[in-house]
C-alpha cells in the first residue's frame, strides 16, 4: 500500500467528520488492561513514587504529632482567638472539602450528561474526592475540643448529655452533609472499582493478592445480568450524587451565610462556593494526573484532550468565581448597609489586602491564560496555573473567614490574626495525609476505570 493511515497524535482538534478518539495509540481491550495493570504488576515502583511517599509519610507523621499535641494541650495551640475563633482549621476544612467536589462532578454529573471523556479520569478523581474528604473531616473533627466525645455530633441517645443535637444549626447540617458525602462517594468509588478489582484478581500471581483482591471483588464474573443491575445502580448512584455534591458545599457555605457577620451573611454564598469547589477540585485533578500519566506512561489513556477539557472547566468556573467576587462588592454597595460596605472595603483595602489580592490574582487573572490553546495543552504550563488556582482558593477561604471575623461588630475586639507553628504544620501535614493515600491508591488499585474505558473503544467485530 502506498499510503498508510497516520496514527492520530493530536486529538484536541474537533473534526466535524468524526468524533475525536478518546484513547490513542490504537489500543485494544487487552492493551488497556495490560497498561493499567502494569502499574500494579511492576516489581518495583518508580523511584519518584518512593521519594514522594517518604516525604508524604514524614508529613503525615508531623500531622499525627500535631494532633497528639493538640489533644494534650487543647485548641489553644492554634492561632484561633478572640475575635477570630475560626482560623486555619475551618479554612483548611473548606479548602479540602471543596477539592473533593471535582471527583463527584466527573463521576456523576459528567456521567449523566454522557460525557465519555470522563472514563479515563473518573477513578483517580473519585479517589481524590475520598482522600480530600478525609483530610477535610480531620479539621472540624479535632476542632471540637473534646475529641473523645465526638459522637455527640450525631443524634445518639446519651444519658450523660441528656439532650439531642440542634437540627436547625448549619454546623449540624455539615456533620450530616460531609458524612453522607464521604459514605456515598466511598460506595460509588468502590462499586465502580469492583469489575476492575476482578481484573486484578484474575491476574494476581501471589497468594495474598489472590485472597485480598478475591475478597474485594466479591466474586464478580461480569455476567450480563450482573452488568444490567450494576449499570442501573450506577445511574441511580450518579443521580443521587449529583444533588448531593451540590448540597454539600451549599451547606458548607451555610456555616457562614446563616450567621450575621458582615461579609458572610449573603445569599450568593451557596452557588459561589459550589463553583469555587469545582474550580479548585479540577485544578487538583490536573495537578495529580499530569505527573501520574507521565510517570506511569498513560498518555494514550489520559490524553491531552482530557486535560484540555478539564482546563476549559477550570476557566469556566474561574470566571463564575470572579463574577461572584464582583457581585459581592456590588451588593454590599447596593445594600446601603454600612457594616456590609465596610466589610468589603476592608477585604480589598484593609489589613488583609495582600491576601485578597493574592486570591484575585490566582483565581481571576491567572486562569485567563487558558483562553490560549498553548496553555490548555502544555502540561507544565497547566500544572503551574492549577497550583496557582489552588493557592488562590485557599486564600479565598482565608479571606472570607479571617477578614470578616477580625473586623466584626465590636471594634474594641478587632484584632489581627496570627497562625501558630502548629497551624502551619497541620496544614502541611494534611497534604502528607492526602498524598500518602493517593500514592498507595496508585500502587494498589486501578487508577483508570478499565472496564469503562473498554466500553468507549471502537467495537472491532466481524460486522463492522
Amino acid at each position: 500500500m502506498a499510503t498508510t493511515v497516520e496514527p492520530i497524535l493530536d486529538n484536541t482538534l474537533d473534526d466535524p467528520d468524526h468524533r475525536s478518539p478518546l484513547v490513542l495509540g490504537d489500543m485494544d481491550y487487552a492493551d488497556v488492561t495490560d497498561k493499567v495493570c502494569s502499574i500494579w504488576e511492576a516489581d518495583k515502583s518508580p523511584k519518584v513514587w518512593w521519594l514522594v511517599l517518604i516525604m508524604a509519610i514524614s508529613m503525615l507523621m508531623m500531622l499525627g504529632g500535631c494532633i497528639g499535641h493538640l489533644l494534650m494541650k487543647g485548641v489553644g495551640v492554634w492561632g484561633n482567638n478572640n475575635p477570630a475563633y475560626w482560623g486555619w482549621p475551618i479554612v483548611n476544612f473548606v479548602f479540602w472539602v471543596g477539592i473533593g467536589h471535582a471527583g463527584t462532578l466527573i463521576s456523576a454529573i459528567l456521567f449523566l450528561f454522557r460525557q465519555n471523556w470522563r472514563t479515563s479520569i473518573n477513578r483517580a478523581a473519585e479517589a481524590m474526592t475520598i482522600f480530600a474528604v478525609i483530610c477535610a473531616g480531620t479539621f472540624p473533627g479535632i476542632h471540637i475540643g473534646r475529641v473523645w466525645v465526638f459522637y455527640w455530633l450525631f443524634p445518639v441517645p446519651s444519658e450523660h448529655l441528656a439532650m439531642w443535637p440542634n437540627f436547625r444549626s448549619p454546623l449540624l447540617w455539615d456533620v450530616f452533609a460531609v458524612s453522607t458525602y464521604f459514605t456515598v462517594s466511598l460506595l460509588f468509588w468502590y462499586m465502580g472499582m469492583v469489575p476492575d478489582i476482578a481484573t486484578y484478581r484474575d491476574r494476581a500471581k501471589s497468594k495474598i493478592r489472590k485472597l485480598v483482591y478475591g475478597l474485594l471483588s466479591l466474586g464478580w464474573t461480569g455476567s450480563a445480568r450482573g452488568w444490567h443491575r450494576y449499570e442501573a445502580a450506577y445511574v441511580i448512584l450518579a443521580a443521587l450524587a449529583t444533588p448531593l455534591v451540590l448540597s454539600v458545599h451549599t451547606i458548607v457555605s451555610f456555616d457562614f451565610a446563616v450567621s450575621q457577620v458582615p461579609g458572610w451573611h449573603t445569599t450568593i454564598f451557596p452557588p459561589y462556593f459550589v463553583a469555587g469547589a469545582i474550580f479548585s477540585g479540577f485544578a487538583m485533578v490536573v495537578t495529580l494526573l499530569v505527573p501520574a500519566r507521565k510517570i506511569y506512561g498513560l498518555q494514550n489513556l489520559i490524553t491531552i484532550r482530557h486535560l484540555e477539557n478539564m482546563n476549559k472547566i477550570i476557566m469556566a468556573t474561574g470566571l463564575m468565581v470572579g463574577t461572584a467576587y464582583g457581585i459581592e462588592f456590588f451588593i454590599s454597595w447596593y445594600s446601603g448597609v454600612a457594616p456590609e460596605r465596610f466589610a468589603f472595603y476592608n477585604r480589598a483595602f484593609g489589613n488583609y489586602w495582600w491576601a485578597y489580592w493574592i486570591m484575585v490574582t490566582c483565581n481571576v487573572f491567572i486562569p485567563q491564560l487558558f483562553w490560549f490553546k498553548f496553555f490548555r495543552t502544555n502540561t507544565i504550563a497547566m500544572v503551574v496555573i492549577c497550583i496557582f488556582v489552588n493557592v488562590g482558593m485557599w486564600f479565598e477561604r482565608f479571606v472570607i473567614t479571617v477578614t470578616s471575623l477580625c473586623r466584626d461588630f465590636l471594634p474594641s475586639s478587632w484584632h489581627y490574626f496570627h497562625p501558630t507553628e502548629i497551624d502551619i504544620m497541620m496544614f502541611i501535614g494534611s497534604f502528607g495525609l492526602f498524598t500518602t493515600l493517593f500514592l498507595l491508591f496508585c500502587r494498589f488499585l486501578p487508577i483508570i476505570a478499565i472496564s469503562e474505558v473498554k466500553s468507549i473503544l471502537p467495537i472491532k467485530g466481524k460486522d463492522h
Binding site: L187, L215, G222
Partner: protein, 473 residues
Amino acid sequence: MTEKQNQEMEDQKLLGLLAQFEDPVSLVHACNEARESGYNKIDAFSPFPVHGIDPALGIPRTILPFFVLIIGLTGCAVGLGMQYYANAGDWSDLFPGYNFMISGKPFFSLPANIPVTFEVVVLSSAIATFLGMWALNRLPRLANPLHRISRFKRVTNDKFFLLVETKDPKFSREETESQLNQWGASVIEEVHEDLTDQQLPSWLQLVGLMTALILLIPPVLIFRAEGMTNRKPRLHVIPDMDWQEKYKTQTLAPNLGDEKHPVFLFVDGRAMQEPIPGTIARGNLYTDSEYYRGIKSGTESFATLQSAGARTGLQDDASQDKSGQDKPDQDPTADEKPAEPAEPDWVTQFPPNVNVDQALLERGQQRFNIYCSACHGYAGNGDGLVNARAMALAASGQATWTTAKSLNDPEIIKNPVGRIFDTISNGRGTMGPYKSQIPVEDRWAIVAYVRALQGTGLQPVTVTQADEETVEK
C-alpha cells in the same frame, strides 16, 4: 493437569458448556441465536457492559429502582421523624427529646429541617442501591465453578463468554456444542461442579475463630461486671476537668516552699480567708432587714423568713391539693385554711432610708399603675381589667379565680407597711411574688402609694340606672 485431577473432574457433575467469543458483536449474535433456538438458562459474560445484550438474552428490567425508591421514602420519613422527635418531642421518659428554644422560633420548622432530611434520603438511598444491587446479583459469592476455568480469567480482560447450563431443558451435550460452534464460538469448555471451592483456607478459618473469640471478651467482662458489686470508684477514662488543682474550703493551704522555709499562699496558712472588710459575699446583701424584708431586725430567725418567703399562691394551692388528697375525710374547712405561720414582727413605719415625699409617691403611682392596677384597679378597689375578665370567665365556669383584694378593705388597711411590702415581694394567696420584677426602692414607693390610696378612701364607681339613662339620651 495430572491424571488424578482429570479423573476427579470427570466424576463431578457437569454444570454447563462455556463458549468463548472474541468480540462483543459475535457474543450478542450468539445470544440472539441461542434465545431464538429456545434456550433460556443462558448467561453471557463480558469485560464491560455490552450494548444490546439485554434484549438478546431477554433480561427483564431490574426492580432495583423501586426498591431504592421505597427505602428513600422511608429515609425521608425517618429523617423528618428523627428531627421532630429530637427537637420538638418531649413525651418519652426513657430518651426524651430536647426542646431547643432558639430566638423564640418554633421547635419544628420545616425549612430548617430540610438539609438533614435530604442528606438522610440520599444516604439511605445510596446504601440501598449499593446493597440492593449486590443482593440482586447474589453477590458476594466466595466460590464459583467458573473461576476454576483458567480460560475464564480472560473475561475481565478481553474475551467474551456464553454459558449454557445443563439445567436448560433444551441442553444436550453434543447438540449444544455443535450449535455453539455454529454460532461462532472459538473455544468450548465444560463447567464442572467443584466442592473444594466451597471452603475457606484453614488458616483463615483459624484467624476468624480467634477474632470471634477475642471479640467475645469485652461483652463477657461487661456481663460479669453487671452482677458484681465493687467498692472501688468506677473507671474514669476522660477526666473532663472533674479534678482540678485548687484549694478547697476548710483546708490548710499546702506548703509551697520547703520544710525549713515554709511558703504559704496566705500568711495564716489557711486556704480559706475572711472576707475583705467592706465587701459583701454573694447572697448576703440583705442584712438591712427593715429595708429589704419589711421585718424589724433581730426579731426573727432565718427559717421563719424562708417559710414566709415561700408563702406564694402556687405553693398554697399545691399544699392544699396534697392535704386534700391525703385526708379526704377531714372537714373541708380545715383544708381551706391551713395553719397560718406566726406573723413576723412587721415594721410599722417606713425604714429610715425611704424618704416619703412627692417624688416617691409619683414613682409609686407610676409603678402601681404598671404592675398592680391590672388586678387591683387604678384606685386599688380590686376591680382591675384582668380581675373583671377573670370573674366573667369564672362566672361561666371557664376559669377559677380568687377575687383580687380591694386595698380599701378595712382588713387590709390594718396591715402594717412591712406586711404590704412583704406581700408585694413574696406574694400572698394566689398573688405571685414581684420581687424579681420590681426593685426594692420601687416596692417601697408602691407601698407609699398604696397607703396614700387607702387614705383617700375612694370607693368603686357604680353605674346607677340614672346614669345609664343619661348615656342613652
